[in-house]
Symmetry: C2
Subunit: 238 residues, 2 copies
């Protein structure tokens, strides 16, 4: 059953309105009837069960209203992963964003690397935000990942303050996550573009204390690297 | 640098021909010139360095020939993963196939489950084979995953003989891969369709001794589940 995004604080007994898009989906696609239950997510850990109210003829309703019956706050994942990723071409960036949301990444920072294949404009970023909301609703994850504006590599690295890893081009000195000295509550994962990080970028990542990480000996596409390495980190540090 | 697929045994000094597709890619897309080196993969662990021979004017060559200069056999991965997967819709199945190849899966068995969203026909399977070859060349993995014909769930389960896991809809009794009693050299991973395994299918998987596995508490799409769970298995059992 799909859920609906309402970016508000939920209070039992209160009435909230669905956006025009969410209304169209609930009433015209899912054909939910007045009196039926739906699940609302606010993107900040809030989940609510709500009853659709009767606002008149379905086809005339622009913003449907519903009454909140019960609410809960779902705790944040124990491990906050901050994903720094060089955006692959658009369809593939959607895969990255969906996977990151399904796997509970806390924050996504698009990073413009030397060997970047795509330079996102404002419409790309708007579309990425929508992809995150869709993925949140489909996966049931009530924590919408934060999405930063794209940043130059050096700027992103300067302001990052988490320990973590970079991947995933095979390298002879690759460490395993198990070499990590303690169980962290925040980790960064840096994944470069198709062509990899430049030698200067890799040196800067190492100098910052980030550790190389990969899975298997072969070349991974950006979207495979992101998903498999998050799977690896969550397995090591759960 | 891309590699080229030549499904033959490689012997130093011998001349081999590229297929028409590989020839078009090498000569017309990559513009490789006679005397230049290219990497050949045979899909069976064989990797060769070869020199492109001079067969006359480039645009007339249908099947370019090259002479093998050196060869090696890349060992199989230590852990053989057999992926049983309910094919998602086509574009998403491509993601599954590419990830599985990049991560070194040994064999892929498309399984028709009760809640299947797609019933592959012959043209789908032909296109899947091509996707595997493309992924092999791009990732540099010289082991082309075996691709079985699609099988009914019960048939696939009856003939499977590996220990392993099924995923990835969150379940309260989920085990971790670390609960596995020994370090296996073969493992199966079963990933169901969008709607999940049916209750009967899940019961049959458990009865066969397969263990439930997931990552995080949210619903994963098939392609996310495949990639993240392989990442998890390779991290646990490397």
């Amino acid at each position: 059953m799909p859920s609906y995004y309402v970016p508000k604080t939920f209070t039992v007994g209160e009435t909230v309105r669905l956006s025009a898009e969410e209304t169209a989906h609930a009433l015209r696609v899912m054909r939910i009837e007045p009196g039926e239950r739906l699940t609302l997510l606010n993107g900040q850990g809030g989940r609510a069960s709500a009853i659709l109210l009767d606002d008149g003829p379905t086809r005339k309703i622009r913003e449907a209203s519903c009454r909140i019956e019960s609410t809960e706050i779902v705790p944040r994942p124990q491990l906050s992963i901050i994903l720094y990723v060089a955006p692959p071409r658009n369809k593939n960036m959607d895969t990255v964003l969906k996977s990151a949301t399904e796997l509970g990444v806390a924050r996504i920072v698009p990073v413009i690397c030397r060997y970047a294949v795509s330079r996102p404009d404002a419409s790309a970023i708007e579309s990425w935000s929508q992809t995150l909301v869709t993925a949140m609703k489909q996966s049931g994850n009530p924590w919408l990942p934060e999405l930063d504006a794209p940043q130059a590599f050096s700027e992103a690295l300067t302001y990052s303050d988490e320990d973590g890893f970079f991947g995933a081009v095979p390298q002879s000195d690759d460490l395993q996550a198990s070499d990590f000295p303690y169980t962290p509550d925040r980790l960064s994962l840096w994944v470069g573009p198709e062509g990899g990080f430049s030698p200067e970028e890799e040196q800067a990542l190492r100098k910052k204390g980030l550790l190389p990480l990969t899975i298997g000996p072969w070349i991974l596409r950006v979207e495979t690297a992101v998903t498999a390495l998050i799977g690896s980190l969550l397995t090591q540090f759960h």
